[in-house]
Subunit: 327 residues, 2 copies
C-alpha cells in the first residue's frame, strides 16, 4: 500500500517525511498536480458498477486501490505546467485528479473538503469557542460604526486578515498589526476587516497536531519587545522555540476542535498571557512545521510519516469524507 | 425568520421563488455577494464565547440568528463590483461572508461544502453506481492506450467535459459529442478526457429534486434525429418537456444519492433507452429549472419556496454541515 504525497518539487519539508517513509520501507508516490497532464498521468474506469483507477508519475504506476493515504502538502495548480496552460485545462485536470482520488478508500491528511472549510477564519473562531478554547474578543465588519463601538469597548486592538493567508503566498502576506489609538474606522466599509483584542503576551505558542499526537513549542517574547511587536512571523530573531507541555484542558479542547473540523493535521497558534492562559489565534490546516522541528528537535516529520504509514483507520478517514468509498 | 437568497440581479428564475415567498408572507433578503463591500455590508462579533452577526442589503438589516435558510443560487464573486476589485479583496470578502454564514444555524440549499464536492464528475459517477443508478461505461484518462482499449470494448462513444460545466459559463460550454469511428486518441495525453458509452436514447429525462420531492420531465427524441444529436442542450427545438412519473427504484436511488451527497437540491440528467431504463448522466447541484417549469407547469419554484420557508429541519441541515452551529 502506497502513500501518495501531493506537493511541489521545492518542498524540502516534505523531503523530511519522505526520508522517514523510505527508512521504514513504505512505498511513496510523490507528485505535483501541476504536472498533470504531462509528467503525471491518470486513468479511471467506471464499468459494470465497478471502478478501477491508476496514477503514474516518475515512471511509476500505482493503482488507486493500492493507496493507503494521501498527504496534501503544497500541491501546485493542476495543469499549470502544461505546454499550453489555461484555466479550462486546470479545471478539467483538478476535477479529474481530485474527483478520482475522492473515490478511493485512502485516508487523507487533510481531506480537501475539511481543508477548504478550515480556512474560514470566522468559522475557526466559532469552532474554537465551542471547543472550549479562549478566543480574544473579535470583530469582523464592514460597518465603520460597529468598528468604532468595538474599539471603545476594547481599546487595545490588532488588525489582521480575514482569510488568514500565510507567508507562503507572498502577495497576500499581511502581518497582524496593532491598531493606533484614535484610528478612524471609515475605511472598513471598503473591505471586511478583522479587529481583535490584543493579548499582552509573554510567549507565542505553536501547537502542531498530527492525528491524536500534540507537539507544542513555546517562544518567549523578547524582554525588550514593545507592544507593537505582535506578529511572531515578522519579529526579530532572538529567542527560539522550545518544547512545552500542553495543559490538559487545552489538549482536550484541541482534540475536540480537530474532531469537529475533521482534520488529521493542524498548526495552532496561541498567545500565552501573563496568567499562562493560551489564547486561540488560529489553526492553519497546512501550517509549516519545519522551523519548529529544527528549533525544538520534536519528531514532527516522523509522526506525520507514522500517521501516513498506518494501515488502520484513524483521523482523516470517516464515512463522511470517504463518501462512497466506504460503502 | 428570514430566507437569504444569494444570487445575481439578472436571475429571473430566482424571481419566481421570491414571488412565491412573498405570497406566503415569508421575509426574504436577496443579495449578490458581488456587492460586498458596497451595497452589501456585514458584521460578526465574537465576544465572551458568543457570536452575533448581521447582514445588510438594500436598506434592510438582518441578524444571522434570524436566518431560517440560505439559497445559494447564482451568486456573483464577492468583492467583484467593488470600486477597486482585486483577487485579495474577493478572498477577504468571500471568507468573511461565507465564514460568518457557516456559523449560523440556517438550512442550506445547497451547503457550499456539499456543492463543491458534488461538482466532481468522477465522484458523481461513483456515487451514482453505489446508489444503484445505471451508469454507462465511462473512462476518464490521459493514457492514449487506455482510451484505445476502451474504444475497442465500447465502439460507440461520446466525449464530454470532466468538470461538467454548463451553459451558464459561456467560455466553457462544450457540448457532449459523438466520437467519430477510427478516432486516434493520442491527444488525450494533453488533457484528461471523459469517454462514455453512447446510450441509444429514445428520450432525455430531467429529474429535479427539491428536498424529498422529485419532479421529473421527459423529452422524446425527435423521430428524425440522428445518432450524432447527443446533447439535449444543443439539439433542435421540436418536442417539448412533459411531466413523467419516476420509477420507484430510480426514486429510491436518487434519494440515496442526495442523502449521501448532502444535497437539498439537484438536477439529474438521464438518458432513457429503448427498454425504458434511465441511465445516469450527471447531477448538477445548481441546475436550471425554469425551462422545465415553463414547459411542464410543474411547481418547482413553489416547492423550492416551501423548502426554504420550512422552519423545521430537513435535508441540507445536518450536524456535519452546521459544524458548530448545532452544538
Amino acid at each position: 500500500m502506497t502513500v501518495l504525497i501531493l506537493t511541489c518539487e521545492q518542498d524540502v519539508t516534505a523531503d523530511m517525511v519522505v526520508a522517514r517513509l523510505n527508512a521504514i520501507g513504505v512505498p511513496v508516490l510523490r507528485l505535483d498536480p501541476a504536472d498533470l497532464p504531462g509528467g503525471v498521468a491518470l486513468s479511471g474506469e467506471y464499468v459494470h458498477g465497478g471502478f478501477r483507477g491508476h496514477l503514474s508519475a516518475g515512471g511509476r504506476l500505482v493503482s488507486t486501490s493500492g493507496l493507503r493515504s494521501v498527504w496534501v502538502r503544497r500541491p501546485g495548480v493542476p495543469g499549470s505546467r502544461a505546454v499550453r496552460p489555461s484555466a479550462w485545462l486546470s479545471e478539467e485536470s483538478a476535477q479529474a485528479l481530485y474527483g478520482i482520488l475522492r473515490g478511493t478508500g485512502a485516508r487523507w491528511m487533510n481531506h480537501p473538503d475539511a481543508a477548504a472549510r478550515a480556512r474560514h477564519k470566522p468559522w475557526q473562531l466559532r469552532l474554537a469557542q465551542h471547543a472550549g478554547l479562549p478566543v480574544p474578543a473579535t470583530l469582523i465588519t464592514t460597518f465603520p460604526q460597529a468598528a468604532r463601538d468595538f474599539a471603545e469597548r476594547f481599546p487595545d486592538l490588532v488588525v489582521k486578515t480575514v482569510s488568514g493567508t500565510h507567508p507562503q503566498d507572498p502577495p497576500e502576506a499581511v502581518p497582524t498589526s496593532r491598531v493606533a489609538p484614535g484610528t478612524d474606522f471609515a475605511s472598513v466599509a471598503f473591505g471586511p476587516t478583522l479587529l481583535q483584542r490584543r493579548i499582552a503576551k509573554r510567549a507565542d505558542i505553536r501547537l502542531t497536531a498530527v492525528g491524536d499526537r500534540l507537539l507544542a513549542a513555546r517562544k518567549p517574547v523578547a524582554a525588550d519587545a514593545g507592544p507593537d511587536e505582535v506578529d511572531v512571523r515578522f519579529t526579530r530573531a532572538g529567542t527560539s522555540w522550545e518544547p512545552v507541555d500542553v495543559p490538559v484542558r487545552t489538549a482536550e479542547a484541541v482534540h475536540t476542535y480537530l474532531r469537529r473540523a475533521r482534520l488529521a493535521y493542524g498548526a495552532f497558534d496561541f498567545a500565552e498571557d501573563a496568567d499562562g492562559i493560551w489564547w486561540f489565534l488560529e489553526c492553519n490546516q497546512s501550517g509549516q512545521f519545519g522551523f519548529v522541528e529544527i528549533d525544538t528537535g520534536q519528531p514532527i516529520a516522523r509522526t506525520i510519516a507514522a500517521w501516513l504509514a498506518r494501515e488502520t483507520q484513524g483521523n482523516g478517514r470517516s464515512a463522511e469524507h470517504e463518501g462512497v468509498a466506504g460503502v
